[in-house]
Amino acid sequence: MSTIKADAIEAATGTNTDLVLTGKGTGVPDIETGFKVSGTAGLPVSDLRVGTDGELITWDASGNPTTVAVGTAAQVLTSNGAGAAPTFQDAAGGAYEFISSVTASSAASVDFDAVFSGSYTNYLMIAEGIIPATDATVMWIRLSTDGGSTWVSSAGAYTTNWLANPASTAVQGSLGHATAIEVNSSTVSNNGQSNVTTDGYSAFSATIYSPQSSSHFTRVVGHAIIADSGDPSSINQNLFAAGRRAAEAHDSIQVLSSSGNISGVFKLYGIKDA
């Protein structure tokens, strides 16, 4: 092997002439580790070969360089484990999966028809910005077994047990034979929901357990903040544990006010079983 010793090599002819370094046979130019480009060690990213927008560099199972194919919008890069290149895939998501949303503006009721299915065992409802048209009312929840064509509303169909603290005083109570689940207790003084925006809005979350089960009573457990009627400086907390008093497979849920219309934003999520 012969060696050329020089501090610089330039192309000899022309104005814009490439400098070619060529190996022999299967040999290729071998550049020392830590080589510089324009005086700086390492190859700048901008000097990599032009590729496809959105692809990523990786190595395949044989250790050869390759690219991760472009995913679709909102997908995330997901490891496929040792020995396999990662790929873009749909995000696995959290424990809650959005099902449906209703924005009510002075509606007589808020209905989620045919939303309970075999996809989930339990569900979560988040409701906020709630204000009734009629002052000092109670929020009701009802269930349906026929896709919302009719709502279970017979006397004694539901029972609710509360722990409420209107006027900062804890009061517990129950309503064992009601026509609806009560989010804020009707048997507690000063616990009605305000219909005045300056009193603030009400909100609640409620977990619905096994609504589709025909062997378990559907249970609803929730936590509500109720805008105190007539007092913007006061809010009432209501913890409620409620349910149907019969084992039925329910497929729909409804929220309404004990009297008059209701406004607010209501969202329903399915809770993954695993």
């Binding site: 009510a104 509606a107 009721s109 109570g173 309404l256 009297s259 219309n261």
Partner: protein
Amino acid sequence: MARFKAVPVSEAYPNGLKPFTPEEESQRDADEAAWEAAKPQLETLAKIAVLEIQVTQRRLREAALTDEGKAWLQNIEDQIAAERAKVR
């Protein structure tokens, strides 16, 4: 005036509103009438709950140890009895 229910926006209900059926109108009328009819009883139950929670451990000790405490407790008991009589 016809009532509407708020539902998820869909092709069938692009404005998220679905009119009540005649059966639902009847049900809602009955609901609201029952609510109005039950109000006096509910208010009475609420009053009883407020009276009951006033009987604290301290009030019971005072009732056991002083005439004033006993009189106060008797007054509360009388008020509860009067309210209970309304819902019987």
